[in-house]
């Protein structure tokens, strides 16, 4: 197992490369989720404001 992580002396490089791969793609996958949630929240807030605007003269 330790040998597996050691990667013939190249462990640091190999695992760093894989870590970058996973982390960047994970961030990329989460971004649209956040964005969608933010947009929906903005729209809902705006709808509320609009209804307020219609009620106040």
């Amino acid at each position: 197992m330790a040998e597996f992580f050691h990667m013939g002396g190249y462990g640091a490089y190999v695992w760093a490369a894989y870590a970058v791969f996973v982390v960047v793609l994970l961030a990329d996958a989460l971004a649209p989720l956040w964005q969608r949630r933010g947009t929906l929240r903005d729209i809902a807030a705006r709808l509320r404001r609009e209804s307020k605007r219609k009620t106040t003269p």
């Binding site: 969608r36 947009t39 929906l40």
Partner: protein, 257 residues
């Protein structure tokens, strides 16, 4: 009308696309995850160490698929940009702009993993040879497209301007791909080829192809997710979006700042 054409027409309608994409997304993510796991297992465990490079060659399984994707996504973005500019199809604008961040992510991974691979192989993190340089330029092109898109306030105008820029940048794609042929570079030449004979053994090849498949599927998943989010913002005045927003669980929604 031909049912396929009809379906395409329907796909152009944002609410339909939104629902359609929402239905497919989980499956795409699942396929990408599973095939990615298989590919990584194959690359990290099954494949033998390279006789020259030892275990460091295992970086190929992230480096090369991402490198391929960085080019593929740009081509996809440019094709959509072309359609968006010529036929003014809103969905193409959205798809082009949704591909840019994913492509930039793949380009970034290519640069970093290449750099990490270069340190043990060439003894330096970075050299200014043609392939590395043109890939860096590709990253700048992606960033330019994204930057321009976010800098302009009107969303559709922003998409069209950025699409225009993306089209101009297409000249860089052949340079990246053929740089190893046109100039003598430190970077490895063509090793894997779909048509001819690959210069790499089968046990090393299949995990690579699996990873390539996984990254393609992942790209389309991410693309659909981004396009969905962008469509919501773009169509925020339409009733179907309002309905979705109102159906959202309303926590203490403080929307300021």
């Amino acid at each position: 009308m031909n049912p396929l054409v009809l379906w395409f027409h329907k796909l152009g309608s944002p609410p339909y696309f939104y629902r359609f994409a929402g239905r497919f997304l989980p499956w795409l993510y699942a396929i990408a995850l599973v095939s990615g796991a298989i590919g990584l297992y194959g690359g990290l465990v099954v494949a033998p160490a390279d006789y020259q490079q030892g275990d460091s060659f295992r970086m190929i399984y992230v480096h090369v698929p991402c490198a391929w994707m960085s080019l593929f996504v740009y081509a996809f973005m440019a094709a959509n940009a072309f359609v968006a500019l010529v036929w003014r199809i809103k969905l193409s604008e959205t798809l082009a702009m949704a591909s840019a961040p994913v492509g930039a992510a793949f380009t970034f991974i290519t640069l970093v993993t290449g750099s990490l691979w270069g340190k043990p192989m060439w003894g330096t993190w970075w050299t200014w040879d043609a392939r590395l340089t043109s890939e860096l330029v590709l990253l700048f092109l992606y960033l330019g497209v994204i930057g321009l898109y976010h800098a302009i306030e009107d969303v559709r105008q922003a998409a069209r301007a950025a699409a225009f820029l993306a089209l101009i940048g297409v000249v860089n794609l052949p340079i990246v791909h053929y740089s190893v042929v046109w100039w003598n570079t430190l970077h490895q030449g063509q090793t894997v080829s779909l048509m001819g004979q690959s210069k790499i053994s089968q046990s090393m090849l299949w995990p690579l192809l699996t990873m390539a498949f996984a990254t393609h599927v992942y790209f389309f998943a991410s693309l659909l997710a981004r396009a969905r989010a962008a469509l919501l913002a773009l169509e925020s005045g339409k009733d179907w979006v309002r309905a979705i927003a109102l159906a959202q669980p309303t926590r203490e929604a403080s929307a300021h700042g």
